[in-house]
Amino acid sequence: MKNYLLSLLIMTGKYACYGLIIHMMTLSTLLATDGVAQYRSVKEVPITLHIENALLADVLQQIETKTSFTFTYEESDLMRLSGITVQADDKTLDKVLLNIGKTARVHFKQINDNIHVKPAKLQARQQVVEVAPPIQVSGKVSSSTDGEGLPGVNILVKGSSVGTITDVDGNYSLNVPDDNDILVFSSIGFLTQEVPINGQSTINISLEEDISSLEEVVVVGYGTQKKSNVSGSIVSIGSEDIAKVQAPTFDAALQGRVPGVYVTTNGGQPGGGVFVRIRGTGSINNSNPLYVVDGVVVGAGNDENSNPLATINPNDIETIDILKDAASTAIYGARAANGVVLITTKRGKSGKPSITYNAYAGIQEPVSQLPPPMNAQQFAENMNTAFAAAGEEEPFPNPASLGEGVNYMDEIISNGFITDHQLAISGGTEFNQYYVSLNYFDNQGIMLETFQRRFSVRANTDNQITKGIKIGNSLMYSRGSRFDNNAGNRTFIHGTFTDLYQALPTQPLFDESTSTGYGGPTDTRLERRRNVVSQTLLPTRDDVTDRILGNVYLEIAPIKGLTFRTSFSTDIQNNNRYFYSPIWEEGLLNSGGLSTINQDRFNSLFWSWENTLTYANSIGKNNFTITAGTSALEIEFQELRSTARYDTDVFTEIVMGANELVTTSNSEEESLASLFGRITYDYDNKYLLTAAVRRDGSSKFGPNNKWGVFPSFTAGWRISQEAFFGKGLISDLKVRGGWGQVGSDAIGNFRYLAALSTDFGYGFGNQNGQASLGAALLDLANPDVKWETVTEFNFGLDAGLLDDRLTFTAEYYNRSRTDMLLELPLAGVSGLNETVDNVGEVLNTGFEFGAGFRQITGKFRYDFNANLSTINSKVVDLGGLDEIVAYTYSGSGATVVIRPDQPLGIFLARRTEGLFQTQEEVDAANAIDGDPNSPYQNAGTGAGDFRWSDLNDDGRVDNDDKEVVGSPIPKFTYGFGGNLGYGNFDLNFQFFGVHGNDIFNIARSQLEASGRAYNKSSTVLDAWSGPGTSNTIPRPHLQDPNQNIILGDHLIEDGSYLRLRTLQLGYNMPQSLLEPIGISSARFYVSGQNIFVLTKFTGIDPEVGFDENNSAVAGIYQDLYPQVRTWSIGVNVGL
């Protein structure tokens, strides 16, 4: 068995190798042709070929590989003719073919680069090799609505594979085999038209627009489907819409576009994390959708700080198809629980090369103006008050003398810069098409030393190597680097933006006396904060990721309707990070006399091999497509981290003799094997049925529950296709429904095993830097752990009115997630931390509405879109637990909790009743429990401190006095936008909004904290200073005896907002100006991104993102890189 398999594998390897060689050769041929539909006659092409006693098929294949010709034939039996011998040294091809023809008794006829092979007629007097007389047909294809030439129209000689496409002006020229042939003109969005040649040499036609455009296809995973016949929940976004949003990543372009798809960023840092939630967050585990780029599953990762999708160039994307419901995603089985985003990159079309250059450049600034930090004088006065309140000596005898001091916010924040350049060439012959692009993107953020840069190249090709056999590839290489100064890591101590507020304005920026020239803290009474400018500029850093992502495929279509496809994909990523900080001493702070070098390497390798067999046919009015496939994938990940410290600045690489050297490594592997199938059936395009099933096996689970099966069904009824449905106002009407199950395996590897941790060393012998190895169990294994299961019902209605000018979609879904993978805490008395178990249920339900209206022909063109989605999230069960603490804020305890019968991730805090205005109020509160000596809140509470509600009526306030004070889940999200065109001008805009969610503004508790000796927001200038002066900002007091820093509902803010995501005004240069200089199109535009946001939220931005570690934690505002507004100018040029 094993030997048999081995030999199979070796054979496969050989085939793959041949495939590659052939591919490379055709690719080089392709690049060598000038692309113009010129061809050479067989009489002009020399060939050297030695082959003996071979099959005719093999001989012809050899010739194909050596020349640009392709043989076509109808009778396959011919190809089995054997005994063909060719001995040719630099002979012209016609001579070679003549010899072959004589032996094999076949007839060759050259048309363009095709050579037709037919059995020779018995009266073999005529030429065996015939060069067709050049019957040339040319003309222009235009649009019936505006008379403009139509580029990219396919023109085919009916019943043959001879054809061409129109150029950018709609002109074409074609050699036809016979002047009685019929030409077929087709283009997406237009009705197909057939024209008999009848001996004409010029055929000009105009194509009628297919207003319904319902024949669009959507990508459904391992195949495509006619949009009109889709009965699941799938939305497509085209490249035009993606191009309108100037963002480094495509996911940002989805914001506000698609009902049920909520896109949010984690701050405005270059290349920062973007979170996409399809139909809400359904789990506390990874809730990111599955991303599939040209069939390659790319890990979206779950990193709030950076975005792995940032390495993918959005300019290369042709369409994004989003599979929302479980019935549609079931074909992706175990990893599809959060929806699937299918990305298809651009591919070449036959015709002369199309060269496009797109570029823009812009400046960036913060969207919101925030209250500045206090200046030096204000800070000094505030500190004096705070120290005096605590009975300490005032640290600043003369605040007025300090003036403005240093504003570190101004030192760090300035205008950012963004630019993008994309050069793409695409085209090809009828049989070989290519798309090649080059991209350079550079974004300097608004904060010092924050940037993202990307260089990428892409080559996509499709090659029909012989009739019924195609090979091709999608291949991308990119190199990206970024640094965000830890912005967006949302930590509190040393969150980058918080640091700017807390930096001491009395601390000089520069100081000659320190080792770095930057100022440092000198006053021991104040908190010692590192100079943020020095901290940013002193170290040397590098963070570079190289990525190769792509696949190679082979497609065989042996008989009509049957296609076999095998594809091998890979995604290789190498990330190198480097950090070097020299020895420094700034005031009271120093690096301990040591420099620091970090060298980190992260490598990941993903490969997958997928095979699908698809059969499509129609029997009468029964149309069906059957797909069956297999998939195997493996992911390997390795990391190596080294930190070295030296007592000298000499070394900038890690060498011998470090004072400290720590190196750690880690590696992980994961694999998934799958079988899947799908049947799509419709009767007369009226009654639609789909059934799909996938079986997945994952290495993440133990032998007890390794395999899972995920079925789905959908049905639809196109009422408008019925005879009784007259053509009236409603032009299209479809109802559809579906049910499906999908899974999620969002846990770490080996959670089913009881692995011992070796982190439990002890320092016997008291030797520094060493410890004896200790090993113990940390968690309890659960060998039965299995998939999370999502079960979803989806009902939808699609309608088109006024000849589909107005379209409308409404959907309802009910998505239940059961067997949620929870890390359940174990009783501490067991001495173990937790165990993973499948428990609990979360239910998300909602409505989604989308509408569009368009008039896209004529002088004045416009289209509008609008969408609205509701989300209703409810935790149904937590496996018997009353509560899971999702997030704890130090000093305040549980802050975000998950409770049954509540939305996922609600906020828990004290209720604030304003400030005590007088000591009498404090005394009265202390006496509530009958004992005036026992404090109501804290022993030192005084006038000017927060008063909290005694929610449990026990006469005192403590951590039991907390209740649910808010929820981060919006009541609804919405978006609307449109395109307006008049003559050569076009205008595009898109809004995005969120309504009814709360944000917990935790940052304010620190930026207005009274108990700390660092700088704060200037809002504390309005702090309480006597009865009636403030009821919201407590008194400054260095010791904060009341613990005003504890979170209360005064920090809960309305998180609703409306954002103008993008606005673009473009102008197309008239043809008359461009033609003389050889340019076919040129468009200039000015664009604004993120122009304004309307919100009541007082923080940097209401878009506060998610927590990467726990999807249930949302709506927490701690530290955020400001969102940026971008103004840019751009150009699109086509040659």
């Binding site: 908190e527 011992l756 008291n766 113990a776 174990l826 130090s890 904060d1040």
Partner: protein
């Protein structure tokens, strides 16, 4: 044409073969980053590693890294915490000091969780040991060490939480959840048994490398445990037994400070110490905790916790060498210098910059490292004293005095005073001497995690700590973590 069909059949066949015959193998990965439970406990090396993991708990937050000082000292009249800091440390230091004792205090929680981790690791090792093929002598010694540590951890749990859930075996997940509070007398009986067993098999001499439990450590802890139960005769006997070993003595007066600053570790006065080593550069990660607490380093700008109360330094008589060794008066005039190296010259110690001028004007001097750059977290590799020979004299004195043997008691307590270079006590009045011994115990063991628990067992907590906010019946013990109550239906909260 047929070739294509063959190719399809070939590919399809290959795929299906792969997934049906090799599928299971393909989706099963070998665990390489460690050892799996069922392959462990096979030999002496495994046993050694398992035992090391029991020791590991000593250096965890809930034991001798942090909670010992928070639960034992911050709660007492020796510390007056005034910091207004937020975050994990300041807030909860202060909550402990101010008797805002809530179940989520990370220090009391850590005591609970770490304590039971240690007990679980000891229990599983003691269960597995008999079946491991290894040298029987070594096996007996390892069992002794495991029992010693189990007793140490249960003792710390009982101090903090009184009657705690109790088991000496490994239970199932459900059985653990069913546990309820067990009367502390039953747990004390087990500690006595474990320590007696351990003392019988553990060697007298220190281990090599140093740090393992010895016969002296077991007997010494036994003495303290008897003392806490007012079993005076047994306490005296155990203390005497340690003295009679002859392997311990008090270090000289000039070296007293060096017991606490890392320059005289594992000395003749050391009975059992937490072997702190500077290890983890990423000390915030908390994975390797063998690092004595940077967290109350007086040189970290925002970490000015652990402020000695005036009473803590005013209790010393003039000339008591322990005053300067224990407390640093920050703004004293003349500066509060001390002779660290015994050369007779008073010098600044610690030599680094201090930032404790905000509050109280004082800082602990015990546990600050000698000759180290205190801005470096890994400088704080000062061993923490768990059992010191001086305590044996104090235990012996207290027990003998309670038994009426005042002369014996006087001799023992004066050993401590002689070393402190202050006049010897002379009173033989049992009541007077009781007070004197208690005062001496406070001075000698200042900031070593004893004070609150001593006041508690003497019945003095309400009298001494009441004015600071202590309420009898409410602050005798800590509430257990709330999460435990959710997971353990039979567990009750303190106070009820």
């Amino acid at each position: 044409m047929n070739k294509k069909i063959i190719a399809i059949i070939f590919f399809s066949g290959l795929s299906i073969l792969l997934f049906n015959s090799c599928g299971e193998e393909f989706v099963t990965k070998e665990f390489r980053n460690g050892v799996v439970d069922e392959n462990f406990y096979q030999n002496a090396t495994d046993a050694e590693q398992a035992l090391t993991a029991v020791y590991d708990i000593i250096g965890q937050k809930g034991m001798y890294r942090e909670a010992i000082m928070v639960l034992g000292d911050a709660t007492s009249d020796d510390i007056n915490e005034l910091t207004g800091d937020s975050g994990d440390y300041g807030t909860f230091f202060r909550a402990a000091s101010d008797y805002r004792w809530e179940p989520n205090n990370p220090f009391s929680s850590a005591r609970w969780y770490d304590g039971y981790k240690g007990i679980f690791r000891a229990n599983i090792l003691l269960e597995k040991l008999p079946d491991i093929e290894m040298d029987e002598g070594l096996k007996a010694r390892m069992a002794g060490e495991a029992k010693y540590l189990r007793a140490l951890y249960y003792f710390n749990l009982v101090l903090a939480f009184v009657d705690v859930p109790f088991t000496t075996t490994v239970l199932t997940r459900d059985e653990y959840s069913e546990l309820a509070r067990t009367d502390q007398s039953i747990i004390y009986a087990q500690m006595e048994q474990d320590l007696t067993d351990a003392a019988a098999v553990l060697p007298i001499e220190a281990s090599d490398p140093v740090g393992r439990a010895t016969k002296g450590a077991a007997t010494g802890l036994l003495s303290r445990i008897y003392l806490y139960q007012s079993k005076w005769q047994e306490a005296a006997n155990a203390a005497k037994s340690v003295m009679d070993q002859g392997s311990y003595s008090l270090v000289g007066s000039e070296d007293f400070i060096n017991l606490f600053n890392g320059s005289l570790e594992n000395s003749v006065e050391s009975v059992f110490e937490f072997q702190a080593v500077s290890e983890a550069p990423n000390f915030w990660a908390g994975s390797t905790e063998n690092l004595y607490s940077i967290h109350w380093s007086p040189v970290i700008g925002w970490a000015n916790w652990f402020s000695p109360s005036p009473g803590s330094y005013q209790q010393f008589e003039d000339g008591d060498i322990r005053r300067k060794a224990s407390v640093l008066l920050v703004d004293a005039d003349p500066p509060d210098f001390i002779d660290v190296d015994g050369d007779g010259v008073q010098e600044q110690f610690p030599s680094g910059n201090m930032n404790s001028s905000y509050f109280n004007g004082a800082n602990t001097r015990k546990w600050l490292p000698e000759g180290k750059n205190m801005t470096q977290p890994n400088s704080f590799d000062v061993n923490y004293t768990i059992l010191r020979y001086a305590e044996m004299y104090l235990n012996y004195a207290e027990a003998q005095n309670e038994l009426g043997n005042t002369a014996e008691a006087l001799t023992a307590v004066n050993m401590i005073r002689i070393r402190a270079q202050i006049p010897e006590f002379t009173s033989t009045n049992q009541g007077e001497l009781r007070d004197l011994i208690r005062e001496e115990r406070r001075r000698e063991l200042l900031f070593e995690g004893h004070r609150f628990f001593d006041l508690q067992r003497w019945g003095l907590a309400e009298e001494v700590l009441g004015p600071l906010g202590y309420v009898e019946g409410r602050h005798n013990y800590w509430p257990v973590p709330n999460a435990e109550l959710d997971l353990m239906p039979n567990l009750t909260q303190y106070p009820q």
